[in-house]
């Protein structure tokens, strides 16, 4: 699966106002709940590249007794790059790829049907458990909208994977019956 474009997410967060690196990290983790938290190092490295490319600019420094902190602002070019990204339609699965899919193919190739089945069953169990865990978030009376939107995204993808795992399990069983009849 394609990763999230961290540079664009940071540009988007800066569109709401000038921020220091650590504020960006906090805004990222709050806005994309349940995403992998962004490491400070990654924030600074990304900001460095964005600054080099003229998409963000330093907007003053501040010294609070501690280390020097630079605030960053979106530049005109940065705004244009963000707009371009926001209006670009993402290619819908341009390549059929994914670890789940590759594993089934390789299991059938390098091992045997039983191995593929055993893996499919174990993976299905893991997916089902995760699906249940995330679904529980929805029935909690305190779930916030950001969180629901995040959880929906994960649930839709797990659900799609699960359907594929079910179907593939049935197909592999049929294939096995054909080969051994």
């Amino acid at each position: 699966m394609a990763g999230v474009s961290t540079p664009h997410v940071l540009l988007g967060l800066l569109a709401t106002g000038t921020k220091h690196g650590y504020e960006l990290k906090r805004a990222h983790d709050a806005r994309l709940p349940r995403a992998r938290p962004l490491a400070f190092g990654q924030v600074y490295a990304t900001l460095g590249r964005l600054q080099r490319d003229g998409l963000v600019a330093a907007a003053g420094q501040e010294r609070e007794g501690g280390p020097e902190r630079t605030a960053y602002a979106l530049t005109g070019d940065g705004r244009a790059a963000l707009d371009r990204w926001l209006s670009e339609v993402e290619p819908p699965m341009p390549y059929v790829a994914g670890t789940l899919f590759a594993k089934v193919v390789v299991a059938l190739l390098a091992a045997d049907v039983d191995r593929a089945r055993a893996w499919l069953i174990a993976q299905r169990r893991a997916h089902t458990e995760r699906l249940r865990e995330l679904t529980a978030v929805k029935t909690s009376p305190t779930a916030a909208l950001d969180e629901l939107v995040a959880v929906d995204f994960a649930i839709a993808h797990l659900d799609a994977d699960l359907r594929w795992l079910h179907t593939t399990l049935d197909r592999v069983a049929d294939w096995h019956r054909e080969v051994h009849s």
Binding site: V113, D114, R117, A118, I121, R124, R125, A126, H127, T128, E129, L131, R132, L134, T135, K138, T139, P141, I155, D159, L162, R163, H166, A173, H176, R177, H180
Partner: protein
């Protein structure tokens, strides 16, 4: 503690076998999903558990008492007091308003009119559809109808709710509004739910999943399947 149990239940429709010896325990307050491919016997099992259908063989017990041998009148009394049902299409009475529909099970159980109406309004509120209290089903969306039907199933504060594809006719968001509320309220009241569905996404609302295949329990558990792990069937 087991509250409701099916033991080796067999049921056929004429020559068509629907259940071939199903054993299933429903614990107090447990939310259990019954899943499996179309025609595997999910609805038949639900109807047997709810005392709507009588099994050909096997037993249904409620708190240790065998109920499948009871008279139709006795089973229907049990259904009125201890059970609630929810089907794919709400099956509200078309001539009655939402509040009247929800009050109906209470009136049938002998509750006074005023008290029944108050309870009905409270449950419509809990299901987030207070605004349609005086509307008739024809004037409501499918999601609103289903939330009223859920209020009607819960209004008697039953011990078990039987729900057969309760979101089958709804879009994802409307379905979620029914299920999240049903599950939340059932948990608050310690009501068990037997949830029939063929969708993994819906089954994920349950504590436990029982998968039927060709009228028998194929596997059960969280994520499934000791019986399949042994290799091809």
């Amino acid at each position: 503690m087991t509250e409701l149990q099916a033991r080796a239940v067999v049921k056929a429709y004429g020559p068509t076998p629907a259940l071939r010896g199903v054993t299933l325990d429903v614990a107090e307050g447990e939310i259990i999903a019954v899943t499996g491919p179309s025609g595997c016997g999910k609805s038949t099992l639900l109807h047997c558990l709810a005392g709507i259908l009588r099994p050909d063989a096997g037993e249904i017990t409620w708190r240790g008492q065998r109920i499948d041998t009871w008279s139709e009148a006795a089973r229907s009394r049990l259904r009125r007091t201890e059970f609630g049902v929810l089907f794919q299409f709400g099956q509200l009475v078309a001539e009655l308003t939402a509040a009247e529909n929800v009050a109906l099970p209470l009136l049938l159980a002998g509750t006074g009119r005023r008290e029944a109406r108050t309870a009905a309004l409270t449950w419509l509120e809990r299901l987030g559809v207070a605004e349609v209290a005086d509307a008739r089903p024809g004037e409501m969306s499918g999601g609103q109808q289903q939330r009223c039907a859920t209020a009607r199933a819960l209004v008697t504060e039953p011990r078990v709710i039987f729900a057969d594809e309760p979101t089958g006719a709804l879009d994802t968001l409307a379905g979620e509004q029914v299920l999240t509320r049903l599950v939340r309220l059932a948990r608050e009241q310690g009501t068990a739910v037997v949830l029939v569905t063929h969708e993994p996404r819906i089954a994920a609302y349950a504590d436990r999943e029982v998968v039927l295949r060709d009228g028998a329990v194929d596997h059960t558990g969280l994520g499934l399947d000791a019986s399949l792990a042994g290799g091809p069937r």
